[in-house]
Amino acid sequence: MKPANILKALLYAVGLPAVLVLIWWAATLGAKNFFVPTPGTLLSTFAETWFGERIVSDVLPSLGRLVVGVVAAIVLGIVAGLLIGSVKWLRALTEPVLEFFRAVPPPVLVPVLMLLMGITDSMKVVVIISGCIWPVLLNTIEGVRAIDPVLSDSSHTYGITGAARVRYLVLPSAGPQIMAGVRQCLSIGLILMVISEMFASSSGLGFTIVQFQRSFAIPEMWSGIVILGLIGVAMSFIFQFTERRILRWYHGLREVENAV
């Protein structure tokens, strides 16, 4: 990319956020609303609140649980999806049950899991997994089912079966679908991370934000919301970067198809 283009891309990326902050700044200029801090206050509160021991006591543990939960959900979802997608009778057997569990909103599981597992890290991780696994699982099943029969025959005639078939045919072929599931899984994961910490917890981002709310530490509360947004943006960037590397072939293929 030429330097001029990089500059242009950068301007586009920060343009709207800058405008929004400007509007916010102008709107809070004269008014003294207790519930809405000015950008300046928020910035200083943000630094005070989060660049201290809270990183270690709240932010990192929350992020850790999020990462463990999301990774576990992705791995479990893909493995189970490969199995269910490949075995016809297993699909017939599990489909109604999967529909049922998928329909249960994961936040309602929090009190139940708390009773069963106690207020532990594993309980929070299980809450995250219980919500994140569905998009990955269902997308993997669909992706496995949608393998091109000609490609499948082709691999079969060359003796590509068993584990080699999964590695060279099934996984890459279902890749685009799986990645679509992973994308949904990430945003669900962030939501559930916060929710799992809002009930009877003593640390974590969700707990801290609720705590600030209850003690009327309004700028601090807002700064917590900002940090959640930033985590979401970071996750989205990591996802896009990874997706572009894994599915380079897919985007290229789509471009060629669209050009015809």
Partner: protein
């Protein structure tokens, strides 16, 4: 059925006479014996292939033509072990085919759907060898030779979808060649490429076949192509399929697009195959298959 008792006394009673040529036991590379395929559908059974028997000797190039819907693809799937026949059997070098055999490679019509779009050209050609555990050095040599043979040594790092249709089919052919099969099955491989590319690819198949001494069964619906390519043309009837005729193509071994196609004998053969296909379409069946 009455005619059977007079001249086909060796046939088991009750089964229609095979029109395809057979070889004495132990001499055939590929044998198809009384092959029958009936699909069970919701609307009742559909008999796609009724009874096919023929042999291919090692190193032979035979073309299989038939009207559309004559069960060509069904037959090929049975031969390649992708589908089990309802009755009869396929033997490769004397062994019954029950799944895709190691000594066989298949080139499909849909080149765009038979190559792995997530692998580069070289990786596509290499994969079957890698999967068989062929050592790296030998693999590299085979892949290089195969890409060279199909004229694609300049694009090993491209993805298949970056290439034209004809080039993609060349990659599929290279993959089959590198696999070193004893039998190469081709299912209407050039039906989806343009006419000029098609002529080039036909000559490529003749060249590869001569160089490797591989047995080739080439399925096509194109009459000219079958006569131009084959040493022998097996004509199928309309469904339920039997063999309409098994014809020897007595054209010179050296063939080229201009001169061979201008030979009077080419025209005669083409004419003959065309007539047979027309008869097949009208529902005419060889005497023994009613």
């Amino acid at each position: 059925m009455q005619s059977e008792t007079t001249d086909k006394t060796t046939m088991p009673a009750g089964s229609p006479a095979p029109a395809g040529r057979t070889l004495p036991e132990g001499q055939a590379m590929l044998s198809v014996r009384n092959l029958k395929k009936v699909y069970q559908t919701d609307g009742g059974p559909i008999e796609a292939v009724r009874n096919l028997t023929f042999d291919l000797r090692a190193g032979e190039l035979a073309c299989l033509v038939g009207p559309s819907g004559s069960g060509k693809t069904t037959l090929l799937k049975c031969i390649s072990g992708l589908m089990a026949p309802t009755e009869g059997q396929v033997l490769l070098d004397g062994a019954v085919v029950s799944g895709p055999p190691k000594k066989m490679a298949v080139v499909f019509q849909e080149y765009g759907r038979s190559l792995f779009p997530w692998m580069r050209v070289r990786e596509n050609v290499e994969l079957p060898l890698k999967n068989q555990g062929v050592p790296k050095a030998e693999r590299d040599k085979l892949v290089d030779e195969a890409l060279e043979a199909v004229g694609l040594s300049h694009v090993p790092m491209s993805y298949p979808w970056q290439l034209s249709g004809g080039m993609q089919q060349r990659v599929a052919i290279a993959r089959a060649v590198a696999y070193q099969p004893e039998v190469l099955l081709m299912d209407e491989p050039f039906a989806a490429v343009d006419a000029q590319t098609r002529a080039d690819l036909e000559d490529l198949i003749r060249t590869v076949w001569k160089k490797l001494g591989v047995t080739v069964l080439f399925v096509t619906h194109d009459i000219d192509e079958s006569v131009y390519l084959g040493q022998r043309v097996i004509i199928l009837s309309s469904s339920p399929t039997v063999i309409q005729e098994d014809l020897v193509i007595d054209l010179p071994e050296e063939r080229d697009q201009l001169n061979t196609r201008a030979l009077p004998r080419f025209t005669e053969l083409r004419h003959h195959v065309y007539e047979q296909i027309q008869l097949a379409k009208q529902g005419h069946r060889p005497a023994a298959a009613h």
